[in-house]
Amino acid sequence: MTKEELKSYLESNYPELTYSESGKYDLLFIVEAQKLVKTCEKLRDDVKLQFNYLGNISGVDTTENYLTVYQIASISNKLRLDIKVILPHDNPSINSVQSVWPAANWYEREIWELYGIEIHNHDNLTRFLLPDDWDQGHPMRKDWDAPDFIRFPQK
């Protein structure tokens, strides 16, 4: 299945996915936060796709929204796909995809820790990257500031 075929397949069979232009190399689709787990399960169990491999989850702070981007792949069909979820900037929260891909465990923990995005249905949401006595908030947020942190102006 080539990239174009995958795109048309997803557009016709998955109405909950919206194609996004910002993905430069691989396909990038946007899904609503409520439908995320359902869609992921469907993508994994679809015989034609079999997205059984979760490569990475990145959290992003765009200053207006929070994003979580799921980079998934299919090992048997050799496909790649990015799924993006847009979350509000106030009280962001999302369901865990741990039930779909167990690998999500630590990635979601990291997002919870560094971005402060609440993860529902996660079995072990504890601090692990930052020091145990960390009390300075979520450092990966764009508006995060600390006394010894120097920010250089964007050009």
Binding site: K24, Y25, N56, A103, L130
Partner: protein, 367 residues
């Protein structure tokens, strides 16, 4: 006879322990020597690479990413350059692609040498560690000759490589890969017939392909479990489609297979380097890239086959000269969270062997 009461106890393995390869803390719950539960605690090397990369220009990110996974720093250079090139749609000259492949494969061999040495050392034989490092030094010489550094190279840049190889490089490189190829055969003779080595590795830490895929394992660990999946072939990048090489795959998914996959992979890498040296064209080594590199808006996730599995960079550009978001993904991160799953019920010595066979490098986990 009354039943003897046993008590579980907890042992902290790390953050400073000879066999955690850096600063990982494993909290073991033990029943005698038997492991009931393993909880990895990470973050002792969390240097906030992702955060500080948001604060740097694109070329300045490359040396920082060198430190992201220092054992295969070339891959880190490459995966970031590839992401930037895909964003800006830069065409890389032919010669630069060949040089990149040579360096990537040499670095893969160097990294697997470290794996070989430390794994064998963790299972108790100290001597092969020094043999492996001896061969690694030859590759270090080649790198030093090319870019002046032994460990963190900053060699592969956006649009090409930083400098051309010197004249002496090609003959010396041919000699090196020939020696290494012979030495790997020697390693196999040294260990594969050893009954103690076999007893310690065969059947230990079995990882089924389903579990491996579900937990996001990649690279040699996935291939040792019988899944023939190599990003060089299955998600092609660079010019790997021009070379003839096999993808070593083993079926059992135990420590022995993970070790054998890597040994075979080193020999395949030797083949690729030899072919790349044969086909090395003349020409430019770097595409024209503005010093103040500003890729257009967009986002890209690139992934390459590193010696520790899938190495990926998720790069988001907002059109300025600094990355808006850079997420680096290393194979070890996924592998370390797999460790508690497969080390239940084994002994401490097995845990050490399994941990070593995963070849976890902590900066890749903590970043």
């Amino acid at each position: 006879m009354a039943e003897l009461r046993t008590e579980e106890f907890q042992v902290n393995m790390g953050p400073h322990h000879p066999s955690t390869h850096g600063v990982c803390r494993l909290l073991l719950t033990l029943d005698g020597e038997k492991i009931i539960k393993v909880e990895p605690y990470i973050g002792y090397l969390h240097r906030a690479i992702e955060k500080i990369c948001e604060n740097r220009t694109y070329p300045m990110c490359i040396p920082i990413l060198d430190r992201f996974e220092y054992v295969t720093a070339m891959s880190c250079n490459y995966v970031f350059s590839l992401a930037a090139e895909r964003l800006a749609e830069i065409e890389v000259p032919e010669r630069a692609e060949y040089l990149r492949v040579i360096m990537l494969e040499l670095n893969r061999i160097a990294s697997h040498m470290i794996f070989f040495g430390t794994t064998v050392m963790d299972i108790g034989a100290l001597t092969p560690f020094l043999y492996a490092l001896r061969e690694r030094e030859m590759i270090m010489d080649l790198f030093e000759m090319t870019c002046g550094q032994r460990l963190t190279y900053n060699y592969i840049r956006i649009g090409g490589v930083s400098r051309d190889i010197p004249k002496e490089f090609i003959p010396k490189c041919r000699e090196t890969i020939k020696t290494i190829d012979e030495k790997i055969e020697e390693y196999k003779r040294l260990l594969n017939g050893n009954p103690i080595w076999k007893a310690r590795t065969i059947g230990i830490g079995k990882l089924s392909p389903e579990l491996a895929i579900a937990y996001g394992a990649s690279g040699p660990i996935l291939r040792a479990s019988g899944v023939e999946y190599d990003l060089r072939r299955d998600d092609p990048y660079s010019i790997y489609d021009r070379f003839d090489y096999k993808i070593p795959t083993y079926q059992n998914g135990d420590v022995y297979d993970r070790y054998m996959v890597r040994l075979d992979e080193m020999q395949e890498s030797c083949k690729i380097v030899a072919q790349a040296l044969d086909g090395l064209p003349e020409g430019d080594i770097r595409a024209k890239v503005k010093p103040n590199f500003k890729p257009p808006e967009g986002e890209v996730y690139t992934r390459i086959e590193n010696s520790r599995g899938e190495m990926g960079v998720h790069l988001i550009s907002d059109g300025t000269n600094k990355p808006f978001r850079l997420k680096a993904r290393g194979g070890s991160f996924a592998h370390l969270q797999l460790l508690p799953e497969i080390s239940k019920g084994c002994l401490i010595a097995d845990l050490v062997a399994i941990f070593a066979s995963f070849d976890v490098i902590l900066p890749e986990v903590d970043r």
